[in-house]
Symmetry: C2
Subunit: 300 residues, 2 copies
């Protein structure tokens, strides 16, 4: 498979490979979510089950252009809407879950419910973002801007596994994964750097399959060839990372928001660990970002 290097190629790939997924959308009461799902209908890789206010076809009349491809389930309470949509996924009636205008916490509660949720026992729930950043010649994958506040070592291991796996879904055979920290120094006072040493060693022993993993290093050293050279840092990442592992939710979230706000990046987000992909954009994301998140989830 040729690596998918931008989001236009992702849509083309979905079209050419005849992908068609059923999406359960929770509380699509904002115009950005509407435009996103209409775009997915147009491209042909998604059918919709809209869970939320029952008058959605009246309010979002564009949806009427796709008869037979949009089902509506009328649920007024937001928490209940989340539970109903999660059950659709759990029962095999939907392939992907998508969040509209509802707080992340509220939809997470339904996903994580031990009896009725969609997180298999023992799986780590985390978030991966795929970013198309103007000026870069390929996509950038990173984790975790949204779910795990301060990952344990075993959670970091799973985050690296998910990053590697998603990179491979995009056709990157040997992903370069940089372990982000404010400095390149290993320092016992900063425990994350010790975790990183262990991750690099695990990769040396082949635990992550074919992958180049190195760190600690800062974002510039990971993504700009000249930065490491000036600092005298020699790394197999060579300033050419495919993926970034962030040390905590604060740094991941700042990266996500800064990319969209000032780097004019397009970010697509997805939950990992659940039994089916979950699209979890920020409520303030653009329609294009929400559409692209959906496309990423449909590739999985």
């Amino acid at each position: 498979m040729t690596p998918i290097k931008d989001f236009a190629s992702l849509t083309a790939h979905l079209r050419e490979s005849g992908v068609r997924k059923r999406i359960a959308v929770v509380c699509a009461s904002d115009r950005n979510t509407e435009q996103a799902v209409v775009h997915a209908l147009e491209e042909g890789f998604a059918d919709l089950i809209m869970v939320g206010d029952g008058d959605i076809l009246d309010r979002f009349s564009e949806l009427k252009r796709f008869p037979g491809r949009v089902e509506v389930i009328d649920v007024h309470d937001r928490d209940e809407a989340a539970r109903v949509a999660v059950k659709l996924v759990r029962d095999g009636k939907a392939d992907v879950l998508m969040k509209g205008l509802i707080n992340t916490d509220n939809i997470l509660r339904a996903i994580l419910d031990k009896e009725c949720g969609i997180l298999p026992a023992g799986r780590v729930l985390t978030h991966v973002t795929v970013a198309e950043v103007p000026g870069r010649d390929k996509l950038l994958f990173f984790s975790d801007p949204a779910v795990i506040p301060s990952p344990t070592f075993s959670q970091r291991v799973e985050q690296v596994r998910y990053l590697a796996s998603i990179c491979r879904s995009f056709g990157i055979e040997c992903p370069r994964i940089a372990l982000v920290h404010c400095s390149e120094k290993v320092n016992a006072k900063m425990p994350v750097t010790l975790d990183y040493v262990r991750l690099v060693e695990m990769n040396r022993q082949g635990d992550f399959g074919k992958a180049i993993i190195d760190g600690p290093m800062d974002v510039k050293t990971a993504c700009e060839a000249t930065s490491g050279a000036i600092k005298g840092i020699v790394s197999p990442i060579e300033g050419n990372a495919d993926a970034l592992l962030f040390p905590d939710i604060e740094s991941g979230n700042v990266f996500y928001k800064t990319l969209t706000l000032w780097a004019k990046a397009l970010n697509a987000g997805m939950l990992c660990g659940t039994s089916a992909p979950v699209v979890l954009p920020s409520r303030s994301d653009t329609a294009e970002a929400k559409y692209t998140s959906l496309a990423v989830a449909c590739l999985m």
Copy 2:
């Protein structure tokens, strides 16, 4: 004073107000630092004391254009160079300390030395960056991308004080300071959000002078008016922050690096808490960034 809204106005302000500072530069062995100090010499607001390899005038011949304004102190060992430069500041022979191609940790050791350093007892050492971000109509101040890994509450108080004070040096009478977190929710499981509640309350009681302080909120809500509106967040910051307080060094550092790498921002950095301003750019910063950091320090 008219607020200084970009770095060109900063240079103009320094020129017009006749500022002239003596800068002690540690290990200026890279071309970016050379170009930065030459630019400051040209603008006229700085004289130099170069502490490091004694042959610097031969290697950086541009410096010879300013006879009588560049002194050289020959010190080969980097740690010793840091100590000598710090002593110049301590003895009142230099007004500003500037870092060249030396690790932050090494220069910090000399600054923090209890006997011979320049951090008065009881002062909090932290870092403030001033960023000129294309697309914004004013400068953006933030803390701390470089020094305090995980600030205590009392350190956060001082960080806010420094941010407010530096904003006022730039002519912003009532700075808008946003307290950054991945979510707008106060949550006891995320102790930083409780610190933020206390900071907002302190400001309500007037502890930070004339200032608008609010949070927790994410970077987009702090800096983009439409973001908060979509999320239904009402804040006196109104998506128009002058300054951002970051929860930890990881998030601050990621913000700094991401701004320079992909938002084409120009970042100027400075240590706060020391008895004189300390310019502490990243070794991989451009000459323009290093020059601008120096200009910011000379405004203080």
